[in-house]
């Protein structure tokens, strides 16, 4: 959930530009400049990747690019730290299993 108003920080600028990204095929909106992880969290997506052997879910842990628990495949590139990578228009974000793999981005 985006925090649109805040007692100390005020309202989110109404003029803030939005971009659209695709998360496992689902299109979601995000504020420009927001990290991918924040955009996912805003729409309630919490599981970002699955472990290699047991396919256990993993999500945000440290939120500042240190722990690598939030890695996903972004535009075909695996192991992208979503908490420190900003969203971009048309970005394709996919759940990563294990270490992921490099492959061509499917074109619509």
């Amino acid at each position: 959930m985006n925090i649109l108003d805040h007692p100390i920080l005020g309202k989110v600028e109404a003029a803030k530009r939005k971009v659209t990204l695709f998360v496992n095929g689902r299109s979601i909106e995000a504020y420009e400049g927001q990290p991918i992880a924040a955009a996912l969290m805003a729409v309630g997506i919490k599981s970002f990747r699955q472990t290699a052997r047991k396919q256990q879910d993993r999500g945000i842990f440290c939120g500042i690019g240190r722990c690598t628990d939030c890695m996903m495949t972004v535009n075909g590139e695996p192991n992208v730290r979503t908490c420190v990578t900003p969203v971009a228009e048309g970005m394709i974000v996919e759940t990563q299993i294990g270490l992921g793999s490099w492959r061509e981005i499917p074109h619509e």
Partner: protein, 525 residues
């Protein structure tokens, strides 16, 4: 080969303060930081800092960050962002930027890399929804996204207490605060804020399990015995979608270690830390450290340490002579020791917890009757009967004095050391409430027992949304966050100078004048 006169690694409070101090003395400084934005953790700190005027007390952390950035810009300090320093020896830095490595040769270096949050292992601790308190703080205050609706906080140090409060400000419910020790770890006033909001404290408890299939759905707490062992059968389950871990920090000292600085193990400082002298100088000539990397504290002391390292580096580089440097360093050291003089400073490593010492604020988040009765900021019954007056419920030694400067009549005195409890000169105070919104700990209210024949007026600080309308009837709560009566909102003062801290005046039945200390968030419980 790139040449740098003074390299500062880390653009957080310590690094920026160091860069500013050195640049002011003429040193050509270059700052490196791996993040896309400078400021370290400062821009997530939306609460008002403790300290004295020199420490920017009463100013919210992110505003201090803005000031530091403006100063670095003004002084022409170069800040290289997105630049990860991954190698350091006596004279060289290896920097990774945009996938390419560059080497910088430097005459002196200040390592201000900060600290990282500790993890806690328990069953289910890897489930999505379990995150560090710092992560939650980053998402709510920087990215403006709520990680969950019902949050359980693990750890009652200042991070756990402050982030709990900020989660509530952002719109989440904090379903509980868990602490293994029998007492609250952080400042009592921070605990009092979340207590007034009705957050249950589970002292002497730990989290033993996070339950959920793909993400956290609930958490199991277990009571601990005197030897910190779980007591079987004492488990209770709380519904939560987010579990925040605030169990301390560890200095990120890898670069200083790699460079060959001598180290010591100091658990009270967070782990392995470089050995330094009182100039922030490591065992390597020309290598200095500042901030959490040399012992976990907080932003105010990190900035002072940064300044100290900045002067010493300037002296090392011969931009300032020994006498001038000594004067400046003495001044900074004095401010640093003022900050550390309180209950939590480095000068006072936390003592073994003795049971007889756990009472009142520390054990419950609520000052006890004894603590309030002996508090020099609480006026006498006689004075209360005469009309509006401040009630300063500040019972714990904190290095903080903005209340002193806030009072236009000079009725509040903290003096030196700044950890002294504020004293109220009750006959000088006219209950104007200037101090109510100035206190960073939100520990001051004004009470007017003469407001009406059978009504008293209580004015308290409030930092939640939505603000109540004048005339509205709301639930008045006590220090424990329990609804004790209804009250009518008489005045809502949202003074720009108070920077988001609103003074709300509530008319309540006279007999509750010394009990009502806030209102239910949103008006009703």
């Amino acid at each position: 080969m790139n040449k740098v006169e003074l390299a500062v690694i880390g653009a957080g409070p310590a690094g920026l303060a160091a860069a500013i101090e050195a640049a002011q003395l003429g040193v050509k400084v270059v700052v490196f930081d791996e993040n896309a934005q400078p400021g370290g953790q400062l821009f997530k700190q939306i609460h008002k800092f403790f300290g004295s005027r020199e420490h920017k007390a009463g100013t919210r952390g992110f505003r201090i960050g803005q000031e530091l950035l403006a100063q670095t810009e003004q002084l022409g300090v170069k800040v290289n962002l997105g630049s990860t320093v991954f190698g350091l020896d006596k004279r060289n830095l290896w920097v990774l930027k945009d996938g390419r490595t560059e080497v910088f040769q430097t005459d002196a270096v200040i390592v201000a890399t900060g600290a990282s949050e500790n993890a806690l292992a328990f069953k289910g601790s890897t489930l999505p929804g379990v995150m560090t308190a710092g992560a939650a703080q980053t998402f709510i205050n920087l990215h403006r996204v709520l990680p969950g609706k019902k949050v359980l906080m693990v750890g009652s140090g200042n991070v756990g207490l402050i982030v709990s409060y900020q989660l509530m400000q952002a719109g989440a419910e904090v379903v509980g605060l868990v602490e293994a020790a029998p007492q609250i770890g952080g400042y009592g006033v921070h605990a009092a804020k979340i207590k007034r909001a009705g957050v249950p404290l589970f002292l002497g408890h730990t989290i033993t399990e996070a339950i959920g299939e793909h993400q956290v759905e609930s958490a199991v707490l277990t009571k601990l015995n005197g030897r910190f062992q779980p007591i079987p059968g004492s488990e209770k389950t709380l519904e939560a979608d987010t579990i925040c871990i605030a169990v301390g920090l560890t200095p990120m000292m890898e670069l200083a270690r790699m460079a060959g600085a001598e180290f010591k193990y100091a658990p009270q400082m967070g782990g392995h830390v470089p050995i330094i002298n009182d100039n922030m100088e490591t065992s390597i000539a020309g290598m200095f450290v500042a901030g959490d990397v040399c012992g976990v504290e907080e932003a105010s002391s990190a900035m002072e340490e940064g300044r100290l390292a900045g002067v010493t580096a300037a002296e090392y580089l011969e931009y300032v002579d020994g006498i001038a440097a000594a004067d400046r360093k003495a001044l900074i050291r004095e401010q640093l020791s003022a900050i550390r003089n309180g209950t939590f400073g480095k000068a006072h490593p936390r003592d073994e917890v003795k049971e007889e010492n756990i009472y009142g604020l520390k054990s419950s988040g609520t000052p006890s009757k004894d603590e309030l009765d002996s508090c020099p900021g609480v006026p006498s019954k006689e004075r209360l009967a005469k009309g509006p007056v401040a009630v300063i419920e500040c019972v714990q030694e904190i290095p903080c004095n903005p209340c002193e400067q806030a009072c236009p009549r000079g009725a509040i005195k903290v003096g030196k050391p700044i950890t002294s409890l504020p004293q109220l000169t009750e006959n000088v105070c006219n209950g104007c409430a200037s101090c109510v919104t100035a206190c960073p700990g939100l520990a001051i209210v004004t009470v007017d027992r003469t407001y009406d024949e059978n009504k008293a007026l209580v004015t308290f600080p409030y930092e939640y949304l939505p603000l109540p309308e004048t005339g509205a009837i709301v639930d008045a709560v006590n220090r424990q966050g329990e609804k004790i009566c209804s009250g009518q909102v008489v005045k809502v003062r949202n003074n720009k100078k108070a920077d988001g801290t609103v003074a709300i005046s509530l008319a309540v039945p006279e007999e509750y004048a010394m009990e009502v200390r806030s209102m239910a968030k949103g008006g009703t419980k």
